[in-house]
Amino acid sequence: MTWQQEIDGWLQASQTAGGLHMLSGKPDPGIAPSIAFVCIPSFPGNPIPDDLRVRLRPDQFFESVKRFPGFPNVMSMIGDGWLYWDAYLTVLPESYWVRKRVKKAIRITVHMSLSQDLLQRLLLRENLYDGARCILLGQEGGGGVALFDNPKVNAVYALQKVNSEPALAELRDFLGRNNVEQIKDLKSVVDFELLYWIIEREYQAPGQSG
């Protein structure tokens, strides 16, 4: 079986069970990016394939998902991953199907490290900054995940991992100084259920704190 067939088989199973969430990041120089294929279960009763973890170039990734309309439904990039993937995307023609797919996907930036500078960079992505809102999904024992959205920016989100009380204090300081509004009504976050599922699955943040 070729790698194309193996990935295609996985994508067929994922399509039967639901959607595709792809997670990636910025690779080391000279190496193709690591990509995790995660099935988003949407059709109960169908077997959910285990995550597939491969190294693929962006063109190989998109070639793999080409025949599956709507895939990827969600794209998450850890750290500076979008800088790398954008460098590939921006040289493609505006009307090219790959760009359309990406634009239709829910696009998430994830920061596992936290500092004032990194928070600024997190929100500058796709202009979340101007009008950003935030909710903290806390973990027992301190820390959690901060979810950012912006009602003016469709389908773009940012997640900030918060791993200690001092980090939480730093986040709160940033939110206060930048007038980031707290999300009070979870229903106002368009994709909240899906995002919560992703956060819980990938970043383990049960419970909600103020």
Binding site: T2, W3, E6, I7, I31, A32, S34, I35, A36, R53, V54, R55, L56, R57, Q60, M112, S113, L114, S115, Q116, D117, L118, G141, G142, G143, V162, N163, S164, E165, P166, A167, E170
Partner: protein, 330 residues
């Protein structure tokens, strides 16, 4: 004379630990070690705190204090600023021997000041964990790095006893900070500014003017009584709350005079001259090597903390969750 009738001198006056010659200070850096790395400070970088849920650190703010002391000792002392300059100069010219000597001769001073500040903080917010925190310090006696021995020297000068926990504004940490600052207050930047740079010669100068040796001399000569008096001065000065940087510098210069009165052979550069001497040293190095770039104002600006994952956790996760190449040629 029976060996029982006269106590050995080192039983009364402790000594600072010595780094053995195999201690690789350049790869070690200024990290807070333990069972797992708790945090790190790299010259000119951000104080960094690793995920305490992973490292098992129950008082992460204390580790933060530790790394902030490193940052202060790098940005606010003569020997610290020298390290930043040599680190940058080493990218444009040969400065390896001097940089190695520079890091080695300050390692104990840095870890003594940082570990004392960390444990003084932990004592206040988690007194129940304080003794365990001291016991858990890596030590040369247990085959690790001599954090415990460095702390013991500072704790001998100014014990973190029950009275310390009740003091307002933590004056003991300030006095130990002043001791570290005074020890790092060598004429290194003037020396750098006043002569053509020769790496081996300057490395030798640094070793002869070792901050660790200075700290030991000052501590042993001044002794506990003098340090308790200095604690009173610091307590009175800052009883009204958080001190500003300017006031801390003034206090450190004042306490430096008190300390050096016990060791007439030593002098310390006044902190008010730090930036000026840094500029003069950088200008001189630029004459030797025009490619060398160092922005004094930018380099001496403190950076806020980076909170991130432990490198050990990252390594374990990378091993657990491998990515297949599936023979894609990648």
């Amino acid at each position: 004379m029976s060996r029982h009738t006269r106590p050995r001198r080192d039983a009364v006056v402790p000594a600072l630990p010595r780094l053995n010659k195999h201690f690789d200070v350049m790869s070690r850096g200024f990290a807070r070690e333990g069972l797992f790395l708790q945090g790190v400070y790299k010259a000119g970088s951000q104080p960094t705190l690793y995920d305490p849920a992973w490292t098992g650190q129950r008082v992460p703010e204390a580790v933060l204090r530790h790394e902030e002391v490193h940052q202060n000792l790098f940005l606010q002392t003569f020997h610290g600023v020298l390290t930043l300059i040599l680190d940058a100069y080493g990218r444009a010219a040969n400065a390896g021997a001097a940089l190695e000597a520079c890091c080695r001769e300050q390692w104990v001073v840095q870890e003594l000041g940082a570990t004392y500040a960390e444990l003084a903080f932990a004592q206040r917010v988690a007194p129940g964990d304080f003794s365990a925190g001291i016991s858990a310090l890596p030590s040369a006696a247990k085959g690790g790095d001599p954090y415990r021995e460095a702390f013991d020297f500072a704790n001998w000068l100014l014990p973190l006893d029950e009275a310390a926990r009740r003091e307002r504004s933590d004056p003991r940490t300030l006095v130990i900070g002043a001791l570290c600052s005074c020890s790092m207050g060598t004429a290194c930047l003037r020396e750098l500014a006043n002569s053509d740079y020769d790496d081996a010669r300057f490395a030798s100068w640094i070793t002869s003017n070792s901050p660790s040796a200075r700290l030991e001399q000052i501590g042993q000569a001044a002794g506990q009584a003098s340090f308790l008096e200095m604690r009173e001065v610091a307590a009175m000065r800052f009883s009204q709350g958080q001190p500003t940087l300017r006031l801390v510098r003034e206090l450190f210069d004042e306490l430096s005079s008190v300390m050096l009165a016990h060791v007439p052979a030593l002098t310390a550069e006044p902190l008010t001259q730090l930036e000026g001497q840094a500029h003069a040293a950088v200008d001189r190095l630029r004459k030797n090597c025009p490619e060398f770039v160092f922005d004094v104002a930018e380099s001496l600006r403190p950076q806020r903390t980076l909170f991130t994952e432990s490198p050990e956790k990252r390594k374990l996760l990378d091993q657990q969750f491998r990515f297949d190449d599936l023979a894609t040629g990648n």
